[in-house]
């Protein structure tokens, strides 16, 4: 492998997060009963016409803005003609000549991957291979679901880079609320174009394409397998044939599907049923205003403005839900460092191993607990107890605080501490003679907390103990 350069380009499809389909008002919903989200338009009945869902265009513009694309001021829809039973009209409405987004890039750790374009198109239905004798069935629910297709330049040179790229892209699409990218549901799919050439050579090798890889693991394995296969062929004096290959995840190998000579001529032409879409600079700017900060930008902000550690900022910005939780909480309790602390130690540690974990305490409740703590209305111990009760029993913070909180006043605390000292003369003596008086001191604090059921204000208790021990 060392003697060869690998050249990879990706085509990434992602289903857009719209309520309805791209050319009709049917629901865009995964997992419905087959053929229930269908109408004359998306099953391609005679006479039906597409009407563009503007939301889908906005989402593609958003996707473009997350990767610094140019947004075309005029986008055109074309028909891609081919026969397949899942394609109801025998053409897919897509974009060839004037896509919505042109160019852009995503920066990896030490490399920039250029993006060629993003366009909008419709998804096809799904073939369901029945186990019964009736054969293959078609579910058109997915037909007409809006898809964005992003095409990279061939700037990727390893399976690691491909996965890093996809991870970053996926994160951005999820952040910008463009797509869910649920790969297991086919919400994000990837085609890999790959070729190899002798190290340093400027002449590109013949490429092959692998379609519809639906997990990062498949992408990773498929690239490594295919690169090695091509290198082997060349080393053995063979030639790479331009072809589409199918990645077989179970057997971890790619097999030839279709050679170039038999490849389809899609006979693209502008869809005469659709108007060209004008996109004004104003539209783009309005969409830009609604864009959330991307993970990298947020991380910077958290470190610089909120003074979080890089480690904390990194963990929080990994996940859109966590960011939202963090942001919602600091809106109600404006001390990001304290919130980050609780989030990492008390919340994320609880859920880190769970799948589909949910945070079982609302930002509002957490903010309330932190505020009570700051105002010394409850002690740290009580705060943790309340937190646990809210998490486990969905208890009410206010009534818990009333019941468990209300710190002991200074006079009562003095009496309690005096009592403790009086009943533990040995410990008092130890405190004065020991090499480690601090340890004894902490023991006294512990006793106070025990006696007060945690309601004592710790700093106050410490102050009184120190005074009385003098």
């Amino acid at each position: 492998m060392q003697d060869f350069d690998i050249v990879i380009g990706l085509e990434v499809h992602a289903e857009l997060k719209t309520n309805s389909k791209v050319f009709c008002s049917c629901k865009n919903q995964f997992g419905s009963t087959p053929n229930t989200n269908c109408c004359p338009v998306c099953v391609g009945l005679p006479g039906a016409l597409p009407v563009l869902n503007k939301k889908a265009v906005q989402l593609v513009i958003k996707a473009g803005l997350t990767i610094d694309s140019e947004i075309n001021d005029l986008a055109i829809f074309e028909r891609k003609n081919y026969f397949y039973p899942d394609l109801a009209k025998a053409y897919q409405i897509s974009q060839l000549v004037r896509p919505i987004c042109i160019g852009g890039h995503i920066d990896l750790k030490d490399k920039r991957i250029r993006i060629n374009r993003i366009h909008l198109e419709e998804d096809a239905g799904k073939l369901v291979h029945s186990t019964q004798a009736i054969g293959t069935l078609i579910d058109y629910n997915r037909g007409g679901v809006p898809l964005m297709e992003l095409v990279t330049e061939p700037d990727i040179s390893s399976a690691d880079e491909a996965v890093e790229f996809l991870t970053k892209l996926r994160q951005r699409l999820i952040f910008a609320d463009v797509a869910n990218c649920k790969m297991e549901q086919g919400g994000m799919r990837c085609d890999v174009n790959i070729s190899v050439k002798p190290k340093g050579s400027s002449v590109l090798g013949q490429r092959t394409e692998m379609k519809n890889l639906n997990s990062f693991k498949s992408v990773y394995r498929a690239i490594n397998y295919e690169a090695n296969r091509q290198i082997e062929v060349i080393r053995n004096g063979g030639k790479i044939v331009q072809e589409t290959r199918k990645w077989d995840d179970n057997h971890e190998k790619s097999v030839s599907m279709r050679k170039k000579e038999t490849s389809q001529d899609y006979r693209y032409f502008p869809d005469p049923d659709m108007l060209a879409v004008e996109i004004s600079r104003e539209d783009v700017e309005n969409i830009r205003k609604t864009m959330p900060l991307m993970p990298e930008e947020l991380k910077k902000k958290y470190i610089e403005e909120y003074k979080l550690t890089e480690y904390d900022a990194d963990i929080i910005t990994k996940d859109r839900d966590i960011i939202k939780y963090f942001e919602d909480t600091i809106k109600l309790y404006n001390n990001p460092k304290v919130v980050a602390n609780w989030l990492l130690t008390d919340i994320l540690s609880k859920i880190k191993d769970e799948e589909n974990a949910e945070i079982k305490i609302s930002p509002k409740d957490l903010a309330k607990i932190l505020t009570l703590l700051e105002q010394s209305k409850i002690s740290r111990t009580v705060a943790k107890d309340i937190f646990a009760k809210v998490w486990e029993e969905n208890a009410d913070v206010d009534s818990l605080a009333k019941e468990m909180g209300g710190s002991v006043d200074e006079e009562s605390l003095k009496t309690i501490i005096a009592n403790i000292l009086a009943t533990n003369p040995k410990a008092v003596e130890d405190y004065h003679t020991s090499d480690t008086p601090e340890k004894v001191f902490r023991w006294f604090v512990g006793q106070v907390m025990k006696e007060t059921k945690g309601k004592a204000n710790a700093p106050m208790a410490e102050k009184i103990i120190k005074e009385l021990l003098k």
Partner: protein, 476 residues
């Protein structure tokens, strides 16, 4: 009462005044359809036609004043009416039942129309004689040895033979105007987008329109008012206010600028229609219209331009008829590829196959720029050339066809001769402009000639005004 002798507007009045009932009128026309079955104009009379009429009568009694209240209408077989067959006169869709209403059907029903049946046509609207119907040719209403024109031959024949007061056709390259001309009636292809195409089985989406066929100009203007108006289901339909076309008929053409094209003057030389064409121009001039000699230099290229754009769109539009979902599946197919191949081979007729192949050719890689793109550029050029003409003229007057209806079978084996039937009509489709055909004079056998009036886009009213004036005063 002989209802076939009444105009649409007269019939509407009688129905609204309850001097006649819709049931009475509907039964009358259904009876006539049966009597004239030999014309093969109507493929099916819907079995609920009388029931529709009864409901219309009920509504009229309750004060309903719809523009078509109780009026029987026949639609071309490519227009969808929910629950009714729509076969496009193809074996492929012989038993296809529409799952929803087209916008035009919806609009007519809202005005109280009684849609009584569907008319024969050239398969998928491809043809100029209705001989390409899988269900046999329709005969000319005026001479049963001749073709009715096409593709809306059944719709035109039905009105001319008095089988209904009004019918709907579709016009992609002349398919309303040419049969109107051959049957001696009035037909219009409206401005592109004036009438929604939703629910009309597509042939060439970028140039086709639904339009009415009627016995006279005013009926036509009246009916177009019902059909017009944008649809939320059709991006290409115009969401603008619909004018009152009838009120745009002024009964006067003084000062109206009539464009006469140099290229047409050349082309009509020696044609059967030549004399009539000139006499209509003379008539207009004599009655105060100003004749403006103009030119559309690329006029002769409209035909090749059309026969690239239309098949290209058709090949894609007809892809959905694949035997997988609703069109007839070949019983001989044993796998998916055979479902496509055999169903389509058996389902489509010869002319449809010819155009599918033509369309695939002009769109295929390596030929796309030479054909499709060039045709689209030519279309832009023609629009500019016509724009110049319309900057000086209100209408362009030209023949609809080269002569009168030809004999059945005369052009069946010569596709190019058949394509040339559209010589004068295609321009309006390429431009998207409204164009109307009205009968003007007859030959010695009593067969009508058709004269065409093209107006600038959205100016149907102007075309109606000139046509109405000719209809009233011209005696060829």
């Amino acid at each position: 009462m002989k209802f076939e002798e009444l105009s649409l507007i007269e019939l509407v009045k009688l129905l609204q005044e309850q001097k006649v009932s819709s049931v009475e009128v509907t039964k009358y026309f259904i009876e006539r359809i049966k009597e004239k079955q030999n014309l093969n104009a109507v493929l099916e009379v819907y079995d609920d036609a009388i029931e529709q009429a009864e409901k219309a009568d009920e509504k009229i009694k309750n004060g309903f004043k719809g523009k078509l209240a109780g009026v029987p209408v026949i639609i071309k077989d490519n227009i969808l009416f929910k629950g009714k067959k729509a076969s496009c006169s193809s074996k492929f869709l012989e038993n296809y039942v529409a799952q929803y209403n087209s916008t035009v059907v919806e609009k007519m029903l809202n005005e109280g129309a009684v849609i009584i049946g569907r008319a024969n046509m050239d398969e998928f609207a491809m043809g100029s004689s209705t001989e390409n119907s899988a269900f046999g040719p329709t005969l000319n209403a005026l001479d049963p040895t001749r073709v009715p024109g096409g593709s809306s031959g059944g719709s035109a024949c039905a009105v001319a033979a008095g089988l209904c007061p009004v019918s709907l056709g579709t016009d992609t390259g002349g398919s309303i105007r040419q049969p109107a001309s051959y049957n001696g009636i009035v037909g219009i292809k409206p401005t592109y987008g004036r009438v929604s195409r939703y629910g009309v089985v597509a042939f060439a989406s970028s140039i086709e329109q639904v339009g009415p066929l009627t016995k006279n100009v005013k009926d036509n203007a009246y009916m177009l008012g019902v059909l017009s108006g944008g649809s939320e289901h059709d991006e290409t339909s115009l969401k603008i206010e619909v004018p009152d076309f009838l009120s745009q008929i002024k009964g006067d053409i003084k000062g109206i600028k009539v464009g006469v094209l140099k290229e047409v003057e050349e082309m009509v030389k020696g044609l059967d229609v030549e004399k009539t064409y000139h006499s209509v121009i003379d008539f207009l001039k004599a009655n105060g219209a100003e004749i403006v000699y103009s030119s559309i230099p690329d006029f002769a290229l409209t035909l090749p331009c059309y026969y690239i754009i239309a098949p290209a769109e058709a090949t894609s539009n007809l892809g959905r008829f694949d035997g997988v979902k609703y069109s007839r599946r070949s019983p001989k197919a044993t796998n998916v590829d055979e479902i496509y191949l055999k169903s389509r081979s058996e389902g489509f007729g010869k002319e449809v196959k010819r155009r599918i192949m033509l369309g695939n050719f002009v769109l295929s890689s390596g030929y796309f720029d030479a054909y499709y793109n060039k045709a689209k550029k030519l279309q832009q050029k023609l629009k500019i050339e016509a724009g110049k003409v319309f900057s000086k003229c209100d209408v362009i007057v030209l023949p609809t066809t080269t002569g009168v209806a030809f004999k059945l079978g005369a052009k069946s084996n010569d596709p190019i001769a058949m394509y040339k039937e559209d010589l004068f009509t295609i321009l309006a489709n390429i431009l998207g402009a409204p164009a109307l055909s009205l009968p003007c004079g007859k030959n010695e056998e009593g067969l009508p000639y058709g004269i065409q009036i093209i107006a600038n886009s959205l100016n149907e009213g102007m075309a109606y005004n000139v046509a109405d004036y000719i209809e009233k005063g011209y005696r060829g």
